[in-house]
């Protein structure tokens, strides 16, 4: 097990190093610089070439690329993650302030996806081609097909025009005011959770259908076991592994989807910070946030792999 963990840790570090290089290069190859955002349109128009050189040097953007990359690794090692080009705040502060909100949304979305997706999948698999199955399949396809940000906008507009309601507009942490915090995170969590729940529903349905046809399930039925016990105690534990795997992958979608969904709901989480940083060409913030998302994705997948051994005694590392 330790050997496996060490191997996975090294592999994860290698992956993150590769990701960091790709992000770093892509952000510097893409056209555009932060000077328009820093100086404004008028200031940018009146900027002399010497001013440009000086400001780019101040921002550390005129150093050779390898030097800039090493500086960034140094910033990561120091835990500060570098400073925003604009207001001088460190990226660490940004993550500490906004990260909890985004983490809550991701966690809640995951819980909702399981709470909705798994029962729907089970119900579909137990009575395949019945009306419940048909409803569950149609609804899941709808949630897979509908873009999260669009659904988010609809929800925001419906709440606004029907009830004159809008969630708090600045960050309220759970430890400051749990009720207001819940109002802030529940919308994005539902939108993201339902989309992921649709995948879980479809995956759990197909896995259960496969397992339900296995010999040991038929044997259990032949022995007169209760149908509920057959599904929940015998079939489901064996069908759940692929669902857990896909949950790990789906977390990546939740992280990616949260960028647009947070924007739609106006939730000031990390996703929205990423959008603003992209608009402002604040590449220090962008590269750190993308790397953070990549790190979370890698970590979750390691945890999913480890959970296999716990869920299925036949698997040993």
């Amino acid at each position: 097990m330790r050997k496996y963990l060490a191997r996975r840790a090294i592999f994860a570090l290698g992956t993150l190093l590769g990701v960091s290089m790709i992000i770093f290069v892509v952000l510097r190859v893409l056209p555009g610089d932060p000077l328009v955002a820093i100086l404004g349109v008028e200031g940018h128009a009146r900027m002399q070439p010497a001013d440009r050189v000086r400001i780019m040097a101040d921002l550390g953007l005129s150093d050779p690329l390898p030097v800039q990359y090493v500086h960034w690794l140094g910033d990561i090692a120091s835990g500060q993650l570098g400073k925003s080009f604009f207001r001088g705040d460190t990226v660490r502060d940004l993550i500490l302030h906004r990260g909890p909100l985004s983490a809550e949304i991701a966690l809640l979305a995951l819980i909702i996806s399981w709470l909705v997706g798994l029962p729907a999948g089970i119900a579909s698999a137990v009575r395949p081609n019945g009306w419940l199955d048909a409803v569950a399949r149609v609804v899941s396809i709808v949630f897979i097909a509908v873009p999260g940000f669009w659904l988010g906008l609809l929800i925001v507009l419906a709440l606004l025009f029907w009830f004159g309601y809008k969630a708090p507009i600045i960050i309220v942490h759970v430890w400051e005011n749990p009720w207001q915090n819940l109002q802030q995170v529940i919308g994005p969590a539902i939108v993201l959770g339902l989309a992921q729940g649709a995948y879980i529903s479809r995956m759990s349905r197909s896995c259960l259908l496969e397992v339900i046809r296995e010999d040991y399930v038929r044997t259990a039925r032949a022995k007169g076991a209760n149908e509920k016990a057959i599904v929940l105690r015998h079939a489901l534990p064996n069908a759940i592994l692929p669902v857990i795997t896909i949950s790990g992958v789906l977390l990546g979608f939740v992280l990616g989807g949260s960028v647009a969904v947070e924007q739609a709901f106006g939730v000031p989480g990390l996703g929205r910070a990423l959008v603003t940083a992209i608009i402002e060409r604040d590449i220090i913030v962008v590269q750190n946030l993308v790397l953070l998302y990549a790190a979370i994705f890698v970590l979750v997948n390691v945890l999913v792999d480890l959970s296999y051994a716990w869920l299925d005694p036949r698997i040993r590392y």
Binding site: L35, A45, I170
Partner: protein, 557 residues
């Protein structure tokens, strides 16, 4: 002299003495009243309203967060919005109408008859938020920085003070600006009253090497003091209890929320009552707000032109004024405004702000080719001009660079169709991110380009130099027209308003025939506020940069 007096002192009677004193006093008295040291300092024209109530919190939403904190170096309301309430200027625009220039930190000013000396008399007892006294040295340091920025500091308003020579501190409460040549009174006073030219401490500038980009809370003398800033969320300020204009401000707390302009987030926050006052609302939310009871919605003019450039250096055909005029006439401006009506509020205008007193009045303008509702005559003329220029068959493959903003993307498609249909000009759209657009425009890597540019003043001389000047920073088409540049130089120096107006009209005619850029539309601003916010109505304001201090605003319960 005193020796002489002593030796030849005449004998005078008491009566003669008193009469002499009386006559002398009568002669000297008017002169004395002009001596600043003895003049009575007048209070600010912004007086506390007896009906106003003290207290409460004003929640104001405007634009996304600033990219840095240096107001002088900024060109965006992202800075002016949250930071302006913490600072004062020498002069200011009266919040009642947004136009009249009134005293601020300078309680009085004098302009010499030749227009070459501006003297400002400063208020006494004004303190910065850190407790330091405000003096003429701070004014001098501020304006030296604006007029002659240190290396690495770029201040968009520098050209407004190009004729400022020496800035002389006469005494701690009097400062003189000595001009190398005179400028129209309205132009210079407008520059001094600009909301951008906030007075900062000399010491602050010295301590930060003249660059305040990363200095979040530098002391001002304004009605509000910094309390807390949550990046990209809110900037919270409290009432300055020691504000020099006693009795103001009214509200105890000011919360400035950062939200993208024209965004659904801003609109929904206002409509849901999460903010009391919203600026830069999208048209859909603004119309909805207008229908709500207990809400006032106002539209007013903004200092922005939405423009279209033809690159004369890169494309030979576009160097021909007839081709550019043909493109100008081929645009159906009424249709273009309709295209973006749900995205951003716009109005028709020519080459000078259509609401400026010196520009061609709107009714007259809409009779001219290119501005009429019926585009047929304009299109006919455009085709004729293209044929005369030798491009009767049209032009092909023009690189049309479009700034990646919704209004420009919508317009680009419409303009592409109009140019093709009306004068057979075929274009290839190239949508680029904002910073890329400005780099491409400055480098001349385009045939046609569309974007928006701003000015500090409404005065034609400001835009004649920045937008149409031979080396103007926003003359992206590399346009040169010597007779126009000569006329613009005369307009800049002309002190007589009547003569100046006639010259501006002549300049407009020249620009119509040989367009340096093609005006697509002029932006408007949509504001809305709940009626509990009292003391401000921006309907007659020009732009969103001069009147944003909130000192006169109060909250009704």
């Amino acid at each position: 002299m005193s020796e002489q007096r002593r030796s030849h002192r005449p004998a005078v009677s008491r009566r003669t003495f008193l009469r002499t004193i009386g006559i002398g006093a009568a002669v000297v008295a008017p002169g004395l009243s002009a001596v600043p040291a003895r003049a009575q300092e007048t209070p600010s024209p912004i007086r506390p309203d007896p009906a106003a109530k003290r207290g409460g919190t004003l929640r104001y939403a405007v634009h996304n967060a600033p990219a840095h904190f240096d107001v002088h170096q900024s060109g965006t309301v992202a800075n002016i919005g949250p930071q302006s309430p913490m600072y004062d200027t020498l002069l200011r625009r009266d919040p009642k109408d947004g136009q009249t220039i009134i005293p601020d930190l300078a309680w009085k000013y004098e302009i010499s008859p030749d227009g070459k000396k501006y003297t400002f008399y400063l208020r006494k007892g004004v303190k910065f938020h850190d407790g330091a006294d405000f003096t003429a040295d701070d004014v001098r340091a501020t304006y030296e920085r604006i007029a002659r920025p240190p290396k690495g500091v770029v201040i968009p308003r520098t050209p407004l003070f190009a004729t400022v020579g020496d800035i002389v501190v006469v005494n701690p409460h009097q400062v003189e600006f000595r001009m190398t040549e005179p400028r129209p009174r309205a132009y210079m006073l407008g520059a001094f009253a600009s909301g951008w030219n906030i007075i900062v401490r000399k010491k602050t500038l010295e301590e930060n090497g003249g660059n305040l980009r990363q200095v979040m809370n530098y002391p001002g003398t304004g009605p509000f003091k910094h309390v807390q800033r949550k990046d990209k969320e809110v900037w919270i300020m409290e009432r300055n209890p020691n504000y020099w204009n006693k009795g103001l401000p009214y509200v105890d707390k000011l919360e400035v929320y950062h939200m993208f302009p024209f965004s659904p987030e801003l609109g929904s926050s206002f409509l849901a009552g999460k903010v009391d006052y919203a600026r830069l609302l999208d048209p859909v939310s603004w119309r909805k707000a207008k229908e709500m009871s207990g809400v006032t919605a106002a539209a007013f003019n903004q200092s922005v032109i939405q423009a279209f450039w033809c690159n004369e250096k890169k494309n030979k055909a576009l160097a021909d004024p007839r081709v550019r005029r043909a493109i100008h006439l081929a645009m159906d401006r009424h249709a273009l405004i309709e295209v973006v009506k749900d995205t951003a509020p716009m109005q028709i205008g020519g080459f000078v702000y259509p609401f400026h007193e010196m520009s061609t009045p709107k009714a007259e303008l809409e009779k001219k080719l290119g501005y009429q509702k019926d585009v047929k005559p304009a299109v006919q003329e455009a085709r004729k001009l293209m044929a005369e220029a030798g491009y009767g068959q049209g032009l092909k493959g023009l690189d049309f660079v479009v700034r990646d903003i919704q209004t420009f993307k919508l317009w680009a498609v419409a303009i592409q169709a109009m140019l093709k249909e009306h004068i057979n000009v075929e274009t290839n759209l190239r949508v680029v991110q904002t910073s890329v657009w400005f780099d491409e425009a400055a480098a001349g890597n385009f045939d046609l380009a569309i974007s928006a540019i701003v000015s500090t003043l409404m005065d034609p001389s400001d835009i004649f130099s920045a937008w149409y000047g031979k080396n103007g920073p926003q003359n992206y088409g590399s346009w040169v027209n010597e007779p126009f540049h000569d006329l613009a130089a005369q307009i800049e120096k002309e002190l007589d308003t009547k003569k100046r107006t006639a010259m501006v009209r002549r300049a407009e005619d020249m620009l119509e025939k040989d367009p340096p850029l093609i005006p697509v539309a002029y932006e408007q601003i949509y504001d809305a506020w709940y009626n509990k916010v009292r003391g401000q109505n921006p309907s007659t304001y020009f732009g969103i940069y001069d009147v944003v201090r909130w000192d006169q605003v109060w909250m009704a319960t």
